[in-house]
Subunit: 302 residues, 2 copies
Amino acid sequence: MDAPVSFLDQLFSQGILHDSGVDGLYARSGMFEDVISRFEEFALGFGKDEITEAMVFPPGMPLSDFETSGYMKNFPQLAGTVHAFCGNDHDHMGLLQCVAAGEDWTDKQKATDVALTPAACYPLYPILSKRGPLNADGAYVALQSYCFRHEPSKDPARMQMFRQREYVRVGSADQAMAFRETWKQRGQEMMQILELPHEVEVANDPFFGRAGKMMGASQREQELKFELVVPVNSTSRPTACMSFNYHMDNFGKAWNIRQADGSAAHTACVGFGLERIALALFRHHGFDVEAWPSGVRSALWG
Amino acid sequence: MDAPVSFLDQLFSQGILHDSGVDGLYARSGMFEDVISRFEEFALGFGKDEITEAMVFPPGMPLSDFETSGYMKNFPQLAGTVHAFCGNDHDHMGLLQCVAAGEDWTDKQKATDVALTPAACYPLYPILSKRGPLNADGAYVALQSYCFRHEPSKDPARMQMFRQREYVRVGSADQAMAFRETWKQRGQEMMQILELPHEVEVANDPFFGRAGKMMGASQREQELKFELVVPVNSTSRPTACMSFNYHMDNFGKAWNIRQADGSAAHTACVGFGLERIALALFRHHGFDVEAWPSGVRSALWG
């Protein structure tokens, strides 16, 4: 009996994704991209009047802000920093000799002041900080970014480079909590319209190391993070396609974002894993988008 | 007398781009992104029936393919490689001590098997190569990618992270050359419709070092590269917003892409610098898109 074909191999053979030879790094077909664009349009139909501003970030952010975020404390294993050649003609000859001999040349690369963005909302906070104290309405930003996480995997829902669309609420604790509860409901409503089986559950981030285990437990206990999960690559281990996060005033303090009364702002975000949602749609509705259920088609293609 | 306000500062004060503190790394406003999306739609109206396939790449590509491309030979100063923490709990404590002391922690990062994509068409060639010899029609691919070039600058048209939309022709020398000539004409037609002042000129890539000067001169002499330039940041030094490149069979040989008769494929590409074109539109038609000339508005917003 033949081994079952993995979902990833099916995506390759159907031409939905193209293999690059590196796990988690795939070219997207025009069709896959169209599904993502349509989902983004669909998502923007929810809460449109609440959004005060839209931004799109490049895939990298300043290394100094990345340091401020504390990401290297919490998730060093997932982070990516960008390094470059900074030598002269002579150094370049040495580099080319290494390349020609099949030796490692990358240890001569020096860090630039760019880190790959690990979570789509991180570049927002320093921008808001520079604007000075918030007014009573706070901020409500729609954003999108490529993110990088160094976790090569054969699970197509665990890419190294992927896009998150996020809505971020910055203001008082009440504003942040209310926002998160609203989006927990909306997220489920969206998944119902898209006819995807889903559940919302309390979750924790994959904090690094022994100390990280305790941080994860504490995050769960305080119910700071919820995920909406959908079976994508596996039915026994469903994939987080959305997350609903309350950061308390951690980012407000780290980046000095102030409320009108001078206290540190509270933040919350809802993140949509765009590639994961597209994959969930292909998994549950098939590889031929023309044959998707009519309700799903009309939600996405109008 | 006040110093004139730079174009970059105008973009910041108008909220078209947002400063990150690192030159060449900017958040894009929703309006800026809308202009880019509209331009991409507009561009897809040209040569639509010729395209055989569409792909979108993530911002990184396999390091091994990046090595094959010869980029480190030609443009080492512009390349970015992605590095990550690969240590244990003990190493992590050392890292955090470095961060806390304000010392350099990045020299402990190790190269991953991902390089940032330097030019949008590079990830395409290994994918085509794996498919075996081309048929007589060759390939005609529409693609898009974020690219990275390590050249921090106050010129907003010289970003470190930016998007290229490209059309790539792979086949015989005649097919590649005919494609490039067609797009040289189409590019000018597009700029006329968008009412942007422009010129097409022979150009060369910024090859590294002393040997690179000769390579640039040879590239010019053979007229392998043309650029469509538009004044964006400066009238005396206009910006390349499109490029029209014939690579001969260099990439066909490097990645073993074969024509039907077994000989190495020839390739040509036309690249649109999406951020540069958006900036050119803002520069020439003003910061208020509602007030752009009616011909430009109808070309972009229909």
